[in-house]
């Protein structure tokens, strides 16, 4: 079973149809998804800016991570759950959206960046916890995080636009990236 046919199957489930067609639930889920940005990306941005020495310079990094991680985890959990619900409501179009696909790639990049940061340079955090002298590798992690999350937000917003949808004539590149079928492109 291909991912596309899985999405087609998903789209026909009663829950997906109900969420897609609901007058209030879909906008509510979407609003929660967007506004939780403030909690998760907002705090993650403050942490990144701290790594770059642009704010909270006198606050020990471990104080920020230990005090803010619970909020960030909670925010991230809400974003993932509402994000899955939004995908569930519109599975096929989301799966074939070039923006959605690029967003997923960047989410993986952001996850890897955070994981590498914690698995490597963050292990020696005690040595640079209270200084403004953040090691270059940690600064790089901060910059990459800002770049990835910027892309994730922008691409996430663009999913709403139908410029590159498969039900419209698209260039070969878009057809390839979005995985449009020949049928959708009208070449039967």
């Amino acid at each position: 079973m291909s991912l596309l046919s899985f999405c087609q199957w998903l789209a026909d489930t009663p829950g997906s149809i109900a969420l897609h067609e609901s007058l209030f639930m879909y906008p509510v889920v979407e609003s929660v998804h967007v506004l939780t940005l403030c909690v998760f990306v907002g705090m993650s941005t403050m942490l990144d800016l701290r790594l770059l020495g642009l704010t909270l310079r006198r606050v020990p990094l471990t104080d920020i991570t230990s005090r803010l991680f619970p909020w960030m985890f909670a925010g991230f959990a809400v974003m993932v759950i509402t994000g899955i619900a939004l995908f569930y409501a519109i599975p096929v179009r989301s799966y074939q959206s070039i923006w959605f696909r690029m967003k997923v790639v960047l989410l993986i990049c952001a996850g890897l960046n955070a994981w590498i940061f914690h698995a490597t340079i963050y292990k020696s955090v005690r040595q640079w916890d209270v200084t403004e002298d953040v090691p270059p590798r940690a600064r790089l992690a901060g910059i990459l995080s800002l770049v990835f999350w910027t892309g994730i937000i922008v691409f996430g917003r663009m999913i709403a636009y139908n410029w590159y949808d498969c039900d419209r004539p698209q260039s070969a590149l878009v057809v390839w990236v979005a995985g449009c079928t020949a049928e959708q492109q009208g070449r039967k």
Partner: protein, 159 residues
């Protein structure tokens, strides 16, 4: 006072027309608006959660507020500039939109509150403001900004 003629004039401005007629313009401006939303959310929450006794509670409110203040100002400036751009592209729709007026009322209150009461409290000397007052100010601030955010998102769903 009837504001409709003013809104219609806004709609006819060359900037408004340009944004409306360029395929990408609205989407790009809106994305920047969202990016600034994340930053302003971080700057507001850092201080307000601290007022409520959460988050960076080992730090002094005063210090946190000093650190967050420039980012609040910067992100608010970006929000206002991009927000005006978004508004100019569809003022008549906004005029008849309840969420738009709700958002603008919340925004006016949030800005007034942040730059008067909130500012006084967070920059006050340590211990001069009672914990109860801090809690109230934190709750009011979060509620007002949440109203701005929710109202803003709702503009897109209406009309």
């Amino acid at each position: 006072m009837n504001l409709l003629p003013f809104f219609q004039w806004c709609e006819a401005t060359s900037l408004g027309t340009a944004i409306r007629e360029t395929t990408w313009a609205f989407a790009v401006i809106e994305s920047v608006h969202l990016l600034a939303l994340a930053v302003i959310g971080g700057a507001v929450l850092l201080v307000d959660l601290r007022l409520l006794g959460f988050g960076l509670r080992h730090q002094r409110i005063n210090d946190l507020a000093s650190d967050a203040w420039p980012w609040l100002n910067r992100s608010l400036a970006v929000m206002l500039v991009t927000g005006i751009g978004l508004f100019l592209s569809e003022p008549t729709k906004c005029y008849y939109s309840t969420p738009f007026w709700f958002k603008m009322s919340s925004l006016a209150l949030a800005i007034m509150f942040t730059y008067t009461v909130h500012r006084k409290v967070v920059f006050a000397e340590e211990g001069r403001i009672s914990p109860v007052a801090c809690t109230i100010v934190g709750v009011v601030s979060i509620a007002l900004w949440l109203g701005v955010g929710a109202g803003g998102r709702w503009i897109g769903f209406s009309g």
